[in-house]
Symmetry: C2
Subunit: 331 residues, 2 copies
């Protein structure tokens, strides 16, 4: 391929939506941005690697979309309004078909959020996408992991578990193949995998909702490593415990449709990860305002438990449940 790094960047990654406050975008040593004086800048960075965060041969469109989504999800978890982003991409070769589709997926979300790409780099290497995203949040208004209070309600947006189910399907372990056969789903295996994998990557961003939410909640996290793992970060930072009711976990319609075993459903919701939904705590006196927000932003919200003194307790129909499995970790 004769296309150079400079041509690549120009062709696929130069957008004209420079945006207010961006004094200098792509094309110099650095980008330059201004921050309004009453705001702080929220900064996050996340990497997606082939074979680790996504399967080989994943559609480049989905990949472009999700690489940005996981980053704006971190902004949402602080209540920050997305402002701009940078992209570093390692490619085995300068495949223009790949880049065109990747760029389309990336910009489908960036355009929706009115988010300019202000810089980045491309390099030769095994497929890896590293994005840094920047958001604005009024000083002192960020939702932080350390702010959960005893008796706060614990809430989740959307549903949990579908992305993890897709990953299990994709690995085609003996366990999941046996299960699918038992459920008489083995003939539809591929189409179920494709459906769940695609839906699990095209996750809706919660940015607009989260920005409004930060007025009534001061503690949130996005679920990347699984509900238990991410809730534990909140509990540890806030020095509190929690009670979670498993029957209240928001599950995708597909779990019922495919008739997945109940304990496997719970497992996917609790430990699966990759959901990029918001987990937040809030004084329950705000529940009316929360319902109004959820309605006006069309975001499903469900209460799954309560912040308590002590440790984390999981209950199902009132009975305590012992789940010892470790959350997903990258090593």
């Amino acid at each position: 391929m004769a296309i150079s790094e400079f041509e690549l960047i120009k062709k696929y990654f130069t957008s004209n939506d420079r945006g207010e406050g961006i004094s200098l975008g792509i094309g110099d040593d650095c980008a330059l941005i201004s921050i309004p004086s009453e705001y702080e800048l929220a900064i996050t960075t996340d990497t997606q690697n082939e074979g680790i965060h996504f399967f080989k041969n994943t559609s480049p469109f989905l990949l472009g979309y999700k690489s940005l989504l996981v980053n704006v999800s971190d902004l949402a978890a602080m209540g920050a309004k997305p402002y701009c982003f940078t992209l570093s991409i390692n490619l085995p070769d300068a495949d223009e078909n790949f880049l065109e589709e990747f760029s389309r997926g990336l910009y489908s979300l960036a355009s929706k959020l009115n988010l300019p790409l202000i810089g980045g780099n491309t390099s030769k290497g095994p497929l890896s996408i590293s994005i840094s995203a920047y958001g604005l949040i009024k000083k002192g208004c960020a939702m932080k992991r350390a702010n959960a209070q005893e008796n706060d309600g614990i809430y989740i947006t959307g549903t949990l578990g579908l992305p993890a189910f897709a990953v299990d399907l994709g690995y085609r372990s003996a366990h999941i193949c046996r299960l699918m056969e038992k459920l008489s789903l083995n003939k539809e295996y591929d189409s179920i995998f494709n459906h769940c994998y695609e839906k699990g990557m095209l996750i809706e961003d919660r940015c607009a909702f989260a920005s409004a939410l930060s007025e009534i909640s001061s503690c949130a996290i996005d679920i990347s490593d699984g509900l238990i793992g991410d809730l534990s970060h909140i509990l540890k930072s806030s020095k509190v415990g929690a009670e979670i009711n498993l029957e209240d976990l928001p599950k995708p319609e597909e779990f019922r449709e495919y008739n997945l075993p109940d304990d496997y459903q719970d497992h996917l919701c609790l430990y699966g990860g990759g959901d990029y939904e918001l987990l937040f705590t809030m004084n329950e006196s705000f529940e009316n305002r929360l319902n109004t927000l959820a309605h006006s932003f069309n975001v499903p919200v469900k209460r799954i438990g309560t912040i308590k003194n002590g440790t984390l307790e999981l209950r199902k129909h009132g009975k305590m449940v012992d789940y010892r499995e470790k959350p997903f970790e990258h090593f």
Copy 2:
């Protein structure tokens, strides 16, 4: 390896130097930073991949140092004062020896610059280090590629060509092996390579000098892709040409010591890249102030030519030279 991502980050990448203006560092969904109202934030991101930007088995200390250096070099090229940085690292496995040395190299530069690490992530994958660095620059004071003016002098800090010579040595092509034999250096090949490679990675940052320089220069770039390639960015952005005198190129003492052929020396200086020195233009009436700066920051500075109307012309002892080779590009 039983060490998890969270433990890794905590053990090797949590520093206490949170720094003024950093409201929230590592440990939440985002970092939060404040920007003084008279400043803009300069943002840059750069990736170093094994086998592309550095040889396999490169010392992790050098790698940690250089991964940060290439980023602060972009800040210096705008005249921005380094403020903080994030780190995304892909590792084949959680090798603690590697991480300890890498972290030591990284912090040797970060500490010198008083630069807090505010966030990042680690993931499994082929060795790749992606850093984003942030700097403060007074509004309107950034040195930009588009600001070169006719009759400006063209200046270089430090020397050019040594990192590129090290890369040539490292590839051990038939060409370089023959050359080293001809120069009777084949017995010392390894020690010469090690010396040049290490020196070419432990490049001194130009941040403090650049920050002061921005008062007398308004146009700079750092040399990553080679003098010709990077000068061309300035000329294109500023819509000007230039005359460069090859006999004025600042060459490392090693070139004379090893008695490298003159045209090979020129080639390394012009097209080698990886120098991370500053190339800047300035009205020559400021040369006295420049000399004072260079002296007080102990930074060698050399004038290599002049901005002209027209195209880029290279001269050696007054005679025009035609160098057609393309600059280093990543694809």
